[in-house]
Homo-oligomer: 192 residues x 2
DNA sequence: CTATTTCATTAAGGTATCTTAAGAACGCTA
DNA sequence: TAGCGTTCTTAAGATACCTTAATGAAATAG
């Protein structure tokens, strides 16, 4: 269970055997049933979270109560309400399991200890966040310059593994369209 | 000129006098006239860039040649085609001065040297990128859940200093609407 | 195995935003 | 100060996407 985590870190930075063990000891596993919450709006997000197994969603609710999915997370991804984590303010997002999932999480205090003890942990999260930033930038550009149909086609090509774990209306929410509209987009594609 | 840069870093992490000097020596100033390019699509982005004075825009062109502004940068902000910088692939974005500007830039090789010499530089860019990520996430959510009018109102409230340095059609591009539509939004607001 | 909930589809009418085109205001520069 | 490029506005018609509502299919619970 921890191999995926340590492997994920070692992909980007070198770690000694001792460091790996120290990191491993700092994370605790959390098991989630389908639809169970890892974080709810209003709660404090005191952990960084790595998805070991399963599929979760990060979303918020607007004034009208409509759900907007900001991110999906599957095995090997990090997920959090980063703003709430960093500022220690109440979360504005929900993190909920879409399928039964296992998450490895580390408390902020433990992680900050790691940052001080292991220079490479600062670097790992720097690089990881940079990569996340770049991906989000690309999504922003795509949202600005592409039609819903183009965004849909790009998503299913790029994230086929995610598409297969989630219902279609959640994908619609992520893409920023109504389920009805996504359905009609798919119909158009079928009809060439 | 360098005070703003060093101050910007020291806001987030501590630096010794020696470290500050080393950092300062690693950056070089670039002066830009209005409309001059700091980076063009197809070029390599080998520098991290800090805006010391003025106002610049980061944008790309879609297949139809339409311009989409991803980010503005003013005095005290960092700006880059981060994907191109990190992957060392040709840039897909342009960075262009909106007003006469001064930029302090550091070559990737120098910056990587700093990362190895100064642990706090890794931390600084980790935190900086985390903050940028959070801001971009919020923008993404806003784009998904708010009308163009709401996004406009939020922008001018939050970034009054930027709004005053840029023409309205660039703000329209940033907000993801046509200049005509932004104009009509402003008219509606005027008429209450 | 049936009942119930969840999810996907279809269609009609409505709204936000775009496209195109034209003209007006502004600010440089000759 | 005249002229020219840049920016902003207005308006009409087009389009993408939404809302609502109803139906059917699939998954899940009892």
């Amino acid at each position: 269970m921890y191999d995926l985590l340590i492997g994920n870190i070692k992909e980007l930075v070198p770690l000694t055997e001792d460091e790996s063990k120290l990191i491993q000891k700092s994370f605790e596993p959390v098991h989630l049933k389908k639809k169970q919450f890892l974080l709810q709006s209003g709660e404090y997000s005191n952990h960084m979270r790595f998805i070991s197994q399963g599929c979760v969603k990060l979303y918020n609710l607007d004034e009208l109560g409509a759900e907007h999915i900001l991110q999906f997370g599957i095995s090997g991804w990090w997920i959090n309400d980063l703003y709430a984590y960093l500022t220690q303010k109440p979360a504005t997002f929900f993190i909920q399991a879409i399928t039964q999932s296992t998450v490895l999480q580390i408390h902020r205090d433990r992680l900050n200890e790691l940052f001080d003890k292991i220079h490479m942990m600062d670097r790992f999260f720097r690089i990881k966040t940079q990569n996340g930033y770049v991906a989000l930038q690309e999504r922003t550009i795509n949202n600005m310059s592409q039609s819903a149909e183009q965004r849909y086609l790009e998503f299913i090509e790029r994230y086929r593994d995610i598409e297969q774990q989630i219902p279609q209306y959640m994908l619609a929410s992520y893409l920023g369209v109504t389920p009805e509209h996504l359905s009609s987009i798919r119909k158009n594609i079928r009809d060439y």
